[in-house]
Amino acid sequence: MKVYLSMRQRFFSGDQMASDRVKPKKHKLSEMERKEEIAGYLFILPNFIGILIFVLFPTICSLLLGFVKWNPMQGLSNMRFAGLENFAGLANDALFTTSLKNNILFTIIYVPFSIVLALIVAGLLNRYVFFKVPIRLMTFMPYISSIVSVAYVWMILYYPSGGPINSILMSLGVQNPPQWLASPKTALISIIIMSIWHDVGYYMIIFLAAMQGISGELYESAAVDGAGGIKSFLKITVPMLGSNIMFVSILATINSFKVFDQVNTMVTDAGPGRSASVLVYAIYYYAFRKQNIGKASAIAVVLFLIIFVISMVQMRLKKKVTV
């Protein structure tokens, strides 16, 4: 389909027109092409200027800022190149190392759990359930709501003594229910659970949309061959969704490195003993609480590199899939 369209595009677009074939001059554009080019520039102009000012320029600055020593109060002349000086202190910085460790832990738990759960829910909703629409709606509702609002709901749900979750656990016979957000041991995992709850509906609808593209005949013939539900899920649905699962995993990984909202709302100062700190929190802390520009920018560069590498992997895989 794509090939077909691009052939059409080439066929119809200016450079292949009859007049051009007679006089194949490369850099002299026909009247029509010139008009199209001007229209093109005019169409992108407002967007391009805005992106230049609000995206491209700050992006470049943010990467450069990691390598300079500078106090913005003293003006630009005061800025000097610092090489890797800003990065040298990072390895011994407790907040940074805890944050990096927590982000990795976050990814290791969040990604597989939310993806497997999303796959199972989508698989069941796709084939085995009545009232698919209201159930899909209920599962997706957390994702649409702002993390800040639901963070406060979960904060109270998690309340160690008398909170609903622990009350339920105790009535089920759990003697010493976890302290959730109040304990350095469980603060991070509590935030991860809430994040999985918040996002699983989103990954689910991506899978569900992709599953609708799988032909029902495949399942029918599998059923004739005697394959049960679980078998056809594992042997048909999962392999057919291969590329979607890969991309959602990458998306979830990137999301788990960008996590911040729930950390800054559910616990104060990144939890007891900063046990729930993450990289974005560390950037925020050094930049806006400590005015330590060098450190904040160095951590930002580290975070950028992590996300850059993941995005590169994604681009590579995408190329492989589409070619």
Binding site: F48, F54, T59, L65, S146, I156, W197, T265, A287, V301
Partner: protein
Amino acid sequence: MKYKTRHLIGRITMTAVMTAFGMLCIFPFIWMISTSFKNEVDVMEFPIRIIPKVINTGNYAKVWFESNFPAYYLNSIKVTALTLIGDVCITTCAAYAFARLKFRGKEIIFASYLATMMVPVQVMLLPKYIYFNWMGINNTHWALILPGIFNCFNTFLMRGFFESIPFEITEAAKIDGAGQFRTFIQVVLPLAKSGLTTLVLFSFSWCWNDYINPLIFINSDRLFTLTIGLQRFQESSTTHYALIMAGATVSLLPLIVLFLFAQRYFIESFANVGIKG
């Protein structure tokens, strides 16, 4: 026949299981609404009572009349509306050119857009703060609106939608003598309705729920949007959980109501974003 009944029983059980799962997903919302109507002493009661003994609407009165919530609301509406209008006008134009017009430098410009998409907002907070300070837009709503309007990801998303419209249609318009702008407004845009819905709903919920940008760029109470307003409200009401839940309900309500009415479009849009992005 036997297969059919077994199948039916399986379906009914699965429906029950999934309904239970769905209920689990919305339990925090139900609990939030129920608690917002309770007296403070009843918040932690067990067994959990979904319908409160006494319906207390005092929390809502407090949220609405004794705090700045009405102002937070107006701020959120203003920021979201201006961002959306600007975004739709400017992004769709650019995306149209990237998808369907030929001009020199297009590939390089678009590649630079794609490159910046790899740098997340979270990485740019500090340079943006210094830069916005220098521009004089810190602590104004422009610091939220302008970066919201100029968005590489949305351009990329809309370009995908415009590319999927058959080229014969625009060629026909061109032969009929329509200029680029008319072709765009009258021919291409109406055909990209699902793309536009996606753009609007996605940007809307992103903008409405944005937390990190207002946290950093806005610092006076009268300019707060709902997310930051709710945080300040939570900090000032300490352990008045029923009151905090009323605040949370009020802040969630518009989006949830909109979602319930347009859920099909929301879900389609977010699936589109997930698959194309």
